[in-house]
Amino acid sequence: MKFFFIVFFNGLTLAALYFIAACGFTLIFGLMRTVNMAHGALLLLGAYVGYEVVEITGLWTVGIIAGGLTSAIVGAAIQAYILGRYQGDELRQTLITIAISIIMADLMLWAWGGLTYQISLPEMLLGGVRLPILNVGYSSVRLTLMAMAAVTGILLWLLIAKTKLGIIIRAGVDDREMLQALGFETKKIFVIVFAIGGMLTGMAGVITGSALSIAPGTDMQFLLSSLVVVIVGGMGSIGGAALGALLIGMAEQYGLAYAPTYGVVFTFVIMIAVLAIRPQGLLGRSEK
């Protein structure tokens, strides 16, 4: 029984990480209908830059910001100079982002080599705390993940529900042509949203590199997990991403704990079930 609850906790913390990682992806898709296959590469890039900055400055928070900024700039550049040219041609954009992800992955392998990196955590987050009731040691960084996911979720909700940019984004999700007709510069807005999405992704990368580790291949793992999370939760919905992350995190951890060999199957069973019954995702809206 105790083990069951620990696994529940593990599922929760993993879900928090998946949620943070999937936010940028779902935000970009929600507005621009671009399936950004370079998402994983942006995440890994942010993580590597975060690692370098933490090594130099010794400050973890600075590393997170630096990682986020790098991915934001690269993301914005991708949208402004490459994807922007093909706005509305989603298939072509998706294929281009696959190309970008492969190029970036090879460049990163060249720059950082194939070793596994871990970003040093601040003193405060090292080691573990004893959980009450369950009375087991639990790593502080995993507990922090949950707080971070909550903060990310709330900030993103505030951005979308309470700010002018949020209103524009929501309007764009509903009717892009109308938004354009009203005189908003969608080109600029798309670049800004891509930058925000990239920022979230880069920060998620640094967090991943601290809680778990980063190595070549991490990009594909997180691209896949983000894809599954938003497919289950509903493309473009922040709440959907949270729900999707929760389901996938739980499925992975219970799978690993009780049937390690077949654990990965559960994740895809959930995805297939959602696609069969509710193709737009649990909280997604169907296309008009």
Partner: protein, 416 residues
């Protein structure tokens, strides 16, 4: 558009005829090298390539007066990818010899593939599943090295007798190489009297081991960890973060130099960890010193010492070159003479032993029991506790009896 397409087509046809022309092929020996240059094993795979290159650098890319051309292909640890890489090398690049692959199940796949290509000789890189050579071997597949069980020689006995671990849990990746490693460990450990109540088989590339960490029972004395690359780093870090304090016994690639060179705080935990391996970064032997120095000189951006993968790909490359030298570059008649020479080949390995093959074309090797220590400059290495010479594939057991134990799997061997 269409005329462009035709031009490209015409150009490719012309190019293809040139490539297929045997006149060009005969002037040099083409050797394909397959290693993993993507994903979680990329660091290890890259070092494998360095090892093979080192063998060729030593002879100035020549064998028996002929130029040797190397073509590198990447696989991704899956059997399919290794087979695709080998097919491309054979059919498109027309290689004469293939060196590789890196990982266990890839080796079994290439062994099967080799049966269909009698004109090509396969020399295993570092893949170390038992069945690659032990059961259903192939006449043109050679392994100048051991399998994962041979690499664990001495560790089971050491853990039980010297360290006094009576009960051990196993955490290992779910494929043929870790199965073989667990066999090597358990065949000695269980015989000595130790017990293995739990085995946790995890998929390759698992990032989050936290649920496995908590599933390890409290009453075991140590954990035998047979994970590689990023998987090992992730498990060890998360075990430490969750407050785990059981001693670790390392599989061969769990504490390889590439892991000890990884960036992160988890390494301090490993100090004193025993492991079995054919490759020790801080080995004091004269041949190893020379090998390390030559590695460091040729690859300034390499690891702080050659890893097991550099070591094994080097031996594969060296075997190929020595064999070519002995037959004077003659690869005619489906490479019959070359293979006969390889079967009888003997050479001094970087660890100072004599490499030679058994009747299954599998190496009889030196293996080490090692311990992790921190060097004065703060980096980590393995030091030798014990050298075990002449470990054969049945680890000293009677061959027929050893074979009768059946192929290794998740449940075989077992001593709960």
């Amino acid at each position: 558009m269409i005329s462009n397409f035709k031009k490209i087509l015409a150009a490719s046809v012309i190019a293809a005829t040139f490539i297929a022309n045997p006149v060009f092929a005969a002037e040099k020996v083409k050797i394909g090298v397959i290693s993993i240059l993507e994903g979680a094993f990329a660091a290890l795979g890259k070092d494998g390539i360095r090892g093979a290159e080192l063998a060729f650098i030593e002879t100035g890319n020549k064998a028996a007066g002929k130029d040797v051309e190397i073509i590198v292909m990447s696989s991704d640890a899956s059997p399919d990818s290794a087979v695709n890489a080998a097919r491309k090398l054979i059919e498109k690049d027309k290689v004469d010899i293939i060196i590789g692959p890196l990982s266990g199940s890839e080796g079994i796949a290439l062994r099967d593939l080799s049966k269909g290509y009698q004109g090509v000789t396969f020399i295993n890189g570092s893949s170390a599943a038992q069945d690659t050579t032990f059961r259903d071997g192939s006449d043109n597949f050679f392994r100048f090295g051991g399998d994962g069980a041979q690499w664990m020689a001495g560790v089971g006995t050491y853990s039980y007798e010297k360290l006094g671990y009576k009960k051990v849990a196993v955490v290992a990746e779910d494929y043929s190489f870790p199965y073989t490693q667990v066999l090597g460990f358990m065949s000695e450990y269980c015989k000595a009297g130790g017990r293995v109540p739990n085995k946790f088989w995890t998929p390759i590339g698992t990032k989050d081991y936290s649920s496995i960490v908590y599933a390890i029972p409290d009453d075991v004395d140590a954990i035998f960890v047979a994970l590689g690359g990023a998987d090992a780093v992730n498990f060890l870090t998360q075990y430490n973060q969750a407050g785990g304090n059981k001693p670790i016994i390392g599989g061969t690639i769990t504490i390889d130099q590439s892991i000890l060179d990884s960036k992160g705080p988890f390494k301090k935990l490993l100090v004193g960890t025993p492991a079995g391996t054919p490759t020790v970064s801080d080995f004091e032997g004269k041949e190893w010193k020379e090998f390390s120095a030559s590695y460091a000189k040729s690859f300034p951006d390499g690891l702080s010492a050659p890893s097991i993968f550099a070591h094994h790909y080097y031996m594969a490359g060296k075997a190929a070159l020595l064999g070519l030298e002995k037959v004077n570059g003659d690869l005619s008649n489906n490479q019959k003479a070359f293979r006969a020479v390889l079967e009888k080949l003997e050479f001094v390995t970087p660890t100072g032993g004599t490499m030679r093959l058994d009747e299954n074309r599998n190496g009889i090797i030196d293996s080490f029991v090692t311990e992790v220590f921190e060097r004065e400059d703060g980096t980590f290495g393995n030091r030798v506790l014990k050298v075990i010479r002449n470990v054969n594939q049945t680890m000293g057991h009677d061959a027929a009896k050893f074979k009768a134990l059946g192929p290794v799997s998740r449940d075989n061997p077992s001593c709960p």
